[in-house]
Amino acid sequence: MLKVKNLTKEFESGESKIKAVKNVSLAIPAGTFAAVIGKSGSGKSTLLSLLGALDKPTGGEINVDDRDIAKLSDRKLIDYRRHKIGFIFQNYNLVPNLSALENVMLPMEFAGVKAAERKKRAGWLLGQVGITGAKQIRWPGKLSGGEQQRVAIARALANKPKLILADEPTGNLDSATGKIIIDLLRHLAKSENTTIVAVTHDTGIARQAKLTFHLKDGRLVK
């Protein structure tokens, strides 16, 4: 269960302060595929970075499994990112000189999983998202955009996270591939009992989500 209460994030810009997220409160049950939609500059990515412990909020609470991550130390935030969170980025952000398999193994290495086990799980995860055979040992540059995003999804699932945060996961994909990716995410949310929060400006994706949150000028409007 993800619960957010009065979440606020301010940035300093010169002498003035900009509120990117203003008193956002929301709740997403476990295993739900939720979408946060809004225009560019509405605060979607900031909200995502706060949920993913990439940034610290100025105020409010973020409870994941009844634990307020806004109050965690830097060390514990790293642990939180390792074990509880998976990220999917618009530009895939795979490490270019590592193979698909090595990319998926990376979060497990940081989490201290043994080499043999992480290789086995990475292979299995890539199989689950449709990357099989020789494609598993290809560098990201040798894979299509859709394949790279599949690898990114497998990487996000590597440490069996409770929450997957996807930032415009289909933003760089054609509509057919984008649909496949969203279907895959919805399937994983159900099968792995993982909460998925996808930030998008694509209303088509939002319609497929079980929960949709509309963000405008840093506030939830719906």
């Binding site: 900031t46 790293i78 590592l98």
Partner: protein, 439 residues
């Protein structure tokens, strides 16, 4: 794939850039290594020169000109007066005699007179008799000493006994050590004898004096030679040993005051300073160049790593987002820097070993012009240090050992760590949230 493998792999991510960095860094490391070798070589040489100089002061009869004579010889009372000077540790006395075959010895000289000797002799003979010039036999030089441990009086560049034994300096026995060439020329061996002044002198040892001149001479106990040649109480050369390097100047001054115009007094410090001066110049140049080369290496790797970190800022953010700690990412980049420097070190060490002697020669040639000829003193001092100062530079060869290579590798690791320090700080400052904002 762990941090080590990932760091090493990243080092070769951009092959053209990697090769460029390695070449530039290798030149820097090679230069550092060459300078380190030059520094070590010169330091060792300076120690050798200083060690060879010791605490000795040379006292010669004033105006004496070797075989040509001049001045009045010193006496035992002069020696006694020197023994009373503070900080004098030892006073070594020596005298010299020329033995000529057919005149006062059975020994035949091991050296030929040569055209110069014959010309000199012809002029003397012509002046005496008005007769025609004729060839003659060179005299055999015999040195008498009361202490064989001080070889500066023996006209040798080294004193290695090849057979037999040394004598007691206080002995009055008619015994001698002969140079290898002299022994060979006269078929002398240990226990054989030769004649001098009508008496048998027993050979108790044969020595290698390091050069043809020295190997054509003989050495006898001082008293024995004085008695044999009728030069009792006459001393040709005195060497005074001070009890410390610091006391040499004062003891020299005291000797000058004691003996006044009777003697030329020179200590070896002035001469050694002349010999060491060009070495000190090389040492200074190589020290500054070493620091410069190390700094250049550190700057190269520093700029490279800053460039790489800036270029991979997004990747660093992603790694942090998926659970990497700052230390893991820093370690990965430090390994990358180490791979750059260690690969460069291998190339640099090979380059450095190849360039060490040519560069040292350039340094020597540029520095030797600042060296000065030693000041004049006793004849022996001139001979020893006139050559010594020149040969000090001539004999320089780069010292190459595992120690130097180890230093080179340590320097490379140090360069990598220093060069990675600031990039590590930049890594720590990258916030993973930036990855999302730059989408």
């Amino acid at each position: 794939m762990g941090v080590l493998a990932r760091g090493a792999k990243n080092a070769f991510r951009n092959s053209i850039r990697t090769v460029s960095i390695i070449v530039i860094l290798a030149v820097s490391i090679a230069m550092a290594l060459v300078m380190l070798m030059a520094l070590k070589t010169v330091e060792a040489k300076i120690e050798t020169v200083k060690g060879s100089v010791g605490n000795y002061i040379s006292v010669s009869p004033a105006g004496i000109r070797g075989f040509e004579g001049g001045g009045e010889l010193l006496s035992n009372s002069d020696v006694d007066s020197l023994n009373q000077i503070a900080h004098v540790k030892k006073v070594v006395k020596s005298t010299m005699e020329h033995l000529t075959n057919g005149n006062n010895t059975s020994l035949q000289s091991a050296t030929e007179a040569g055209s110069f000797g014959n010309r000199q002799r012809a002029q003397e003979m012509g002046n005496e008799t008005g007769g025609a010039p004729r060839s003659f036999s060179m005299p055999v030089m015999v040195t008498g000493t009361n202490d064989l441990s001080v070889t500066s009086n023996l006209n040798v560049s080294k004193f290695d006994l090849t057979s037999g034994q040394k004598f007691d300096g206080n002995s009055a026995d008619l015994i001698a050590l002969v140079g290898t060439d002299l022994a060979s020329k006269n078929n002398l061996s240990v226990d054989s004898t030769f004649q001098a002044y009508g008496k048998d002198v027993k050979v108790i040892g044969i020595f290698d004096g390091g050069n043809q001149f020295a190997n054509a001479t003989a050495v006898m106990p001082l008293k024995a030679l004085q008695n044999l040649s009728g030069q009792t109480d006459q001393i040709y050369q005195i060497t005074v040993e001070a009890d410390s390097i610091d006391a040499v100047a004062n003891v020299t001054q005291n000797i000058k005051e004691k003996l006044g115009d009777k003697a030329d007094v020179t200590n070896q410090q002035d001469n050694s300073q002349n010999a060491v001066k060009p070495l000190e110049n090389i040492k200074a140049i190589s020290s500054y160049s070493l620091i410069g080369a190390l700094l250049a290496g550190a700057v190269i790797i520093f700029l490279t790593m800053v460039m790489i970190v800036r270029e991979r800022r997004r990747e660093i953010g992603v790694l942090k987002a998926i659970g990497a700690s700052n230390s893991v990412i820093m370690a990965q980049f430090t390994v990358e820097a180490l791979v750059f420097t260690l690969t460069s070190s291998i190339v640099g060490i090979a380059l450095g070993l190849a360039l060490s002697n040519p560069v040292l020669n350039v340094l020597v040639n540029n520095s030797s012009s600042t060296g000065q000829n030693p000041g004049s003193g006793g004849r022996q001092m001139m001979m020893r240090f006139g050559e010594g100062a020149q040969s000090t530079l001539r004999d320089l060869h780069a010292v190459v050992g595992w120690e130097i290579i180890l230093y080179g590798l340590l320097a490379a690791i140090l360069i990598a760590i220093i060069g990675s320090a600031v990039p590590a700080y930049l890594i720590a400052k990258v916030r993973p949230a930036e990855v999302l904002r730059s989408e």
